[in-house]
Symmetry: C2
Subunit: 301 residues, 2 copies
DNA sequence: CGATATCTGTGACTAAAGTCAAAGGATGGA
DNA sequence: TCCATCCTTTGACTTTAGTCACAGATATCG
């Protein structure tokens, strides 16, 4: 990467933080500090993502990464102002459940209206065309920034995150294949087959959320086999699949494999295009996978 | 503008401030607080823009909008650490001149290297194509954000900013016209002609820097005349010209004019395209302007 | 059951960031 | 020359944000 790009990122950061800094003003409050207002706002967001039920204070602490003593006091202040209600968790009396009250919701409304006004003020001077271009460019920056914060790590195939990805993968196959997809009819991949030393499973995570996976089964000197490659629909087109493939191939190469193989279904057209673009070539069937239509191999020079 | 756009701007602000927040880490310093580090950095920037000579502390205060007491202490701390040198201004003993020392410059180098590393870390996980798209989108956001912070205000034609724009305008004409441009050969526009009540002059400013101008000469009931419309090259394509024209036409309409007129040179193709797009139609010459090739009029319904 | 770990709350701090008022020296205009 | 104004410094605060250690209640594991 060249220095011009680095300079561009830095210039962008400077401009945009200055512009977005004004956003802080939206959270100014007569009787609440900025920190308290932020906790209230984030709490409401957490409660909403959890379906509206009160959330454990512990979750808030983890999410915002705050000191327990500090958070305890902030919560006490919010409760005293009547903006937040808390109660002991009936399933675990050590925990405390918190949720914003109606008054708290009303306060958040105020912040939101002010934030909207600031955003609208940003857009107002622009012509409709420029406005559309700005919003589009912002979306692009956001998507790519999200992509750049995706980390790829080795994981045990029996962890919750890994299982979540596999379930999502099966669900998508079931939806896309004309005949549906039944895991039990497919060739099984047992956890121990994709766990060292027999294999490896990789997870792509964005801010701790698993959004993709891929695994590798070693066959000694013979070509290693790539299995269960999947990327969340919302994260496609950002190179996550490519990065997973890169890393899987690297692992195979490091393990001394001369080639990697995989099988795939004809309806997975984007995946097939990616395999071909990466140098995979079609070979005769090497598995009895009932859902497979194509078999590919790539030599790892 | 629709709510989706506002929501997009807000989402963008949230994402990007979080991402850029990490940038703060670049300014962490063993023996300097964040605020002090920032003052040092901004001071160096100011000194550089002023051509390397020490700048008045007063200027720093205005630029960063700090409390005099606070700044005084920060500067004292920086001076004690040997990062900044200060001296009484020989031309005005109330003022103090400050500049970073070599040690201060070295410290800033450290911040810059860390900032670069953070920016590079942002880009590293992306493929070359995604990287280029990100940098391009960041540039677009920056440009449009800059455009949205352009303010258009009425100004006296004899202020420095107005004169600066006119000089830049003449210089550009001289460069673009085949025969060059000589102000004294052109029809004069005296200040009082574009100052109320005879006329009006508008200035487009971005963060206090003048980047465009335009003026209007009233002729009673007869069509008003638009003169000296100019936008800085770096700010073109952002709708600044369009906004200046909008405002000039509004002023003419408010003054009871039924139409506006202007003359222009054949080499100013973008301007001519804009006039046509805005509904200006060619009319017979109504001035003796030697540099004019086209005369346009627009009816203000 | 007991040991150990977990979650929250309390007390006691600290550093940073900033505000306000007043003072002292310097300047510029009447 | 005098007076109002300007720039900087100093002292005396305040608020915010956060840290650290520990206590008390509760849960979990062996």
């Amino acid at each position: 990467m060249d220095g011009g790009q680095i300079a561009a990122v830095r210039r962008f950061n400077r401009t945009v933080t200055a512009a977005a800094g004004a956003l802080t003003d939206a959270y100014l409050d007569e009787d609440l500090s900025l920190g308290a207002a932020r906790v209230l706002w984030e709490l409401a967001r957490l409660v909403d993502t959890e379906g509206g039920a009160p959330v454990a204070l512990r979750l808030v602490r983890d999410e915002l990464d705050l000191d327990p003593g500090y958070l305890s006091r902030v919560v006490a202040r919010l409760a005293a102002a009547g903006l937040l209600a808390s109660a002991v968790d009936p399933t675990d009396a050590r925990r405390r459940l918190v949720a914003p009250t109606d008054a708290g919701r009303a306060r958040i409304e105020v912040y939101d209206r002010r934030s909207d006004a600031l955003a609208a003020g940003r857009l107002a001077p622009l012509t409709a065309g420029a406005r559309a271009r700005l919003v589009a460019a912002m979306g692009e920056v956001e998507r790519l920034l999200a992509a750049s914060s995706v980390a790829i790590d080795e994981v045990d195939p029996e962890t919750d995150d890994a299982q979540h990805c596999l379930r999502a993968y099966y669900a998508e196959l079931d939806e896309r294949f004309d005949v549906g997809f039944d895991v039990t009819a497919s060739l099984p991949v047992r956890p121990e087959e994709v766990r060292p030393p027999a294999g490896v499973m990789l997870l792509a995570c964005e801010h701790g959320r698993a959004i993709g996976c891929g695994s590798l089964k070693f066959h000694g000197e013979a070509p290693a086999e790539i299995k269960r490659l999947w990327v969340d629909r919302a994260a496609r087109g950002l190179g996550v699949g490519r990065r997973l493939m890169d890393e899987l191939e690297n692992r195979a190469r490091a393990a001394g494999c001369r080639a990697v193989r995989l099988d795939t279904n004809a309806s997975l057209v984007e995946a097939i295009a990616m395999y071909r673009a990466r140098g995979y070539v079609e070979i005769p069937p090497f598995t009895d996978e009932p859902y497979a239509d194509y078999w590919f191999e790539k030599r790892l020079d």
